[in-house]
Amino acid sequence: MDRKQAFEGIKVADFSWAAVGPIVARELAEHGATVIHVESHRVPGLERLAGPFKGFKPGIDRGAFGMCYNTNKLGISLDLNKPKGQEVAKRLVKWADVMTDSMSPGTMAKWGLDYESARKIKPDIIYYSATLGGQYGPYAKFQGYGAQGAALAGMYSVTGWPDRSPAYIFGAYTDYIGPYFLVCALVAALDYRRRTGKGIYLDLSQWEAAINFLGPAILDYVVNGRIATRMGNRRPDAAPHSAYQCMGTDRWVAIAVHTDEEWKAFCKVIGEPEWTRDAKFATLLVRKRSEDELDKLVGEWTINHTPEEVMFQMQAAGVPAGVVQNCQDLFEDPQLKHRGHFQWLNHKVMGPVAHNAPAYQAFKTPCRLVKAGPCLGEDNRYVYKEILGYSDDDIADLLVEGVITTEADLPGLG
């Protein structure tokens, strides 16, 4: 078989919403799987309600937020609250190899679409649920987004300045940790099923997944009773180690000097000014004792250079340094361009919109980003007719009954 992509032929019924659930299915879609993403105009997800909107004009098909998590997917609209909608969903289950869920625990069961029900239709279905706290436990019903997930997981408690409140890590940080753990388990499940014919249920707790990114700090509390906290830009085994202001408006460079060699090279790059020969900066140990002064002195040099100048000069001398990139920088970053990280796909309403590529490249089975995240219900005709086998009359009925939702079903502002 001349297979060009890893997941060609794999079929995914994607009932998930927001970020986490869709991101998992997206990974499969980027490598050739056919993924049908199910939404309802009556309950548009936050990812369609928040911006950024093209031209600042809100609209469920004008926002780049959720769209980017649904690269390559077919999008349909379906009201799962209607019994007829649940019947349609069951046809999707029958078609699928993989089924997804990121509803509050109990919701899919209410619709007869939980794992146990799906198993009756498709005994070897692989089914994943992705929620903040997992499917069970005292706080399983907790509702929140990745931003709350990061709060619960302890991430903000270790971010920011010792003399200030915890700092916000932009966005919904844990939304971008959990799903990738789940992808690993999902692919393992696909391989397991290939070998054994057995289906599997996977339960991601985003909160628990994110805690794994603080593992050593957790052990430090468990064993030593130490509560990890915010250290600004400091690190116990490096100095200088911070973000330093550069020429320009809000331009910064990060410099991290860990070893004696790096310190020597660093001093050379900045022209070996008098202060670098002061005994109080001679070793890492003593630099840590005068770190405030050190940071001030380093900043007095960097302020006269652009962050790019600092980065290239330091790197040429073997000192770790990197521009603290803003989003504009990311789009101009030659390395990211080389990696093809941002790829523009033509969205039906918004035109070309940047989508992210995966962080890895598997050359024999490259990812292919071919279709922009769909408008709500964009592929109704194709999916209902060609994939699910409904006749034109069936589809007309489903529309009339409001089972297939349309823009007319959108909730108003009130």
Partner: protein, 424 residues
């Protein structure tokens, strides 16, 4: 790994040779958790990462690094110096029966040892070589001297983290390299699935920077669509708006009785009417926020509301949050379906009712320390076969006997010689 564990895991029967350092430890940890027999290969004197703290009972010792314990659990361990010719030959023998090789050396290093992908695939066409580096194997930045801080900075998140009147700030517990391991595992698994269908291995090239860029929510899209650079607005939900409205700032972290809480308090545009209604009810009931009574969240419009009005609402809620503890607010959030989360620290995690009730904390045996230590549990619960968090990370050369003697059949004298020459 016991026979029992091998039978019970999804990926049992596969093997990985793990040459990574901090940039890729988590990759093998994940594969190991899913059942792969991961052999961590260290230099004969032990991996330098064993010197990274924190330490067990604050005793700096290469067999007591909590960082090493966490990142290298679920792996066995051997010592081998692949810079020696004998070491390379032994490694090649191991590659014959391996399914994955994971490494995080500078681009070109494996190649320079004669152990690059083309060489490995000649030995074993099924082999998947996963290479994890800050920027990837090729490109203008591939040879940059790496560090956690600078890689994180170049990923875009740092610029948007912190206070506007201070420099951009890191996450104090470094995150960047964990993404190397995480996406390394994803890439390895994608290549694995393809390999099992076709017999073909391949080279998987991971960029840690890209892993960091994938965490930015919609910030990149804000630039792509609207040419707005989102910056540090710590403490506020920030909505850019066109003139004449100007940007809207909504309070994000509210002080509560014993710390901070992070709610999202807004209306229909974010589908949060019910949540905000419930929160308003409890705030008014507490008797400290009377002016909130009658607030119609169905009519709340973030595109037109004045900053003054928004701040007044936030101030009223602020008074309410001060009357409750983190635990009380968590319970309220769950009871009333209000979107708000306490800012937990590691102590709160340890004391969390939810995590204990779920059996999240897993006891891991450390016989060499004479005790068991509670580790965080797995990220995903799997119905057929559990995601493991045991065994504990290996001691230096702990499984040299198992691999060299029992598997490869080296006689004891040979091992003694190899050890004396610094090869194992």
């Amino acid at each position: 790994m016991t026979e029992q564990q091998m039978k019970e895991s999804l990926m049992s029967g596969y093997r990985a040779l793990d040459l990574t350092n901090e940039k890729g430890f988590l990759c093998g940890r994940i594969l190991g958790g899913l059942g792969v027999d991961v052999i961590k290969i260290e230099k004969p004197a032990g991996d330098p990462a064993r010197n990274i703290g924190p330490f067990y009972k604050d005793i700096p010792d290469p067999e007591k690094s909590l960082y090493w314990f966490f990142c290298n659990a679920c792996k066995r361990g051997i010592t081998l110096d692949i810079e020696t010719v004998d070491g390379q030959q032994i490694f090649e023998r191991l590659v014959k029966t391996a399914d994955f090789v994971i490494e995080s050396y500078a681009p070109g290093y494996m190649e320079s040892l004669g152990l690059g992908y083309s060489a490995l695939s000649q030995i074993n066409p099924r082999i998947i070589l996963t290479s994890i580096t800050p920027f990837g194997q090729t490109g203008p930045y591939k040879d940059f001297k790496p560090s956690e801080l600078t890689t994180w900075a170049m990923g875009g998140m740092m610029f948007m983290t912190g206070n506007p009147d201070r420099p951009p700030v890191q996450v104090s517990h470094p995150q960047a390299y964990y993404f190397g391991g995480l996406h390394g595992a994803v890439g390895s698994m994608v290549a694995h699935y393809y390999r099992e269908l076709t017999g073909d291995g391949q080279h998987v090239d991971v960029s840690i920077q890209q892993g960091c860029v994938l965490t930015l929510m919609y910030a990149a899209e804000y630039w792509d669509l609207l040419k707005i650079n989102l910056g540090r607005m710590s403490g506020f939900w920030f909505t850019p708006r066109p003139e004449p409205y100007g940007p809207l700032r909504a309070e994000m972290f509210f002080r509560c009785k014993d710390g901070w809480v992070m709610p999202i308090i807004t209306g229909a545009q974010a589908g949060l009417v019910k949540s905000s209604q419930e929160l308003t009810k409890v705030a008014v009931e507490a008797g400290v926020a009377d002016e909130l009574e009658g607030l119609d969240w169905t009519k709340f419009d973030t595109s037109t509301i004045s900053q003054e009005e928004r701040s007044r609402i936030d101030e009223a809620f602020g008074r309410f949050f001060l009357t409750k503890t983190k635990e009380e607010l968590m319970q309220l959030a769950v009871e009333k379906a209000i979107v708000m989360g306490p800012i937990n620290d590691v102590k709160d995690l340890w004391e969390s009712r939810h995590l204990s009730a779920k059996g999240f904390w897993k006891k891991v045996e450390h016989p060499e320390l004479g005790e068991t230590i509670a580790y965080p549990g797995p990220p995903v619960e799997i119905s057929e076969a559990p995601w493991m968090v045991t065994p504990r990370a290996p001691l230096i050369g702990e499984h040299n006997g198992d691999i060299y003697e029992k598997e490869l059949g080296f006689p004891k004298e040979q091992l003694t010689m190899l050890k004396a020459r610094g090869i194992i």
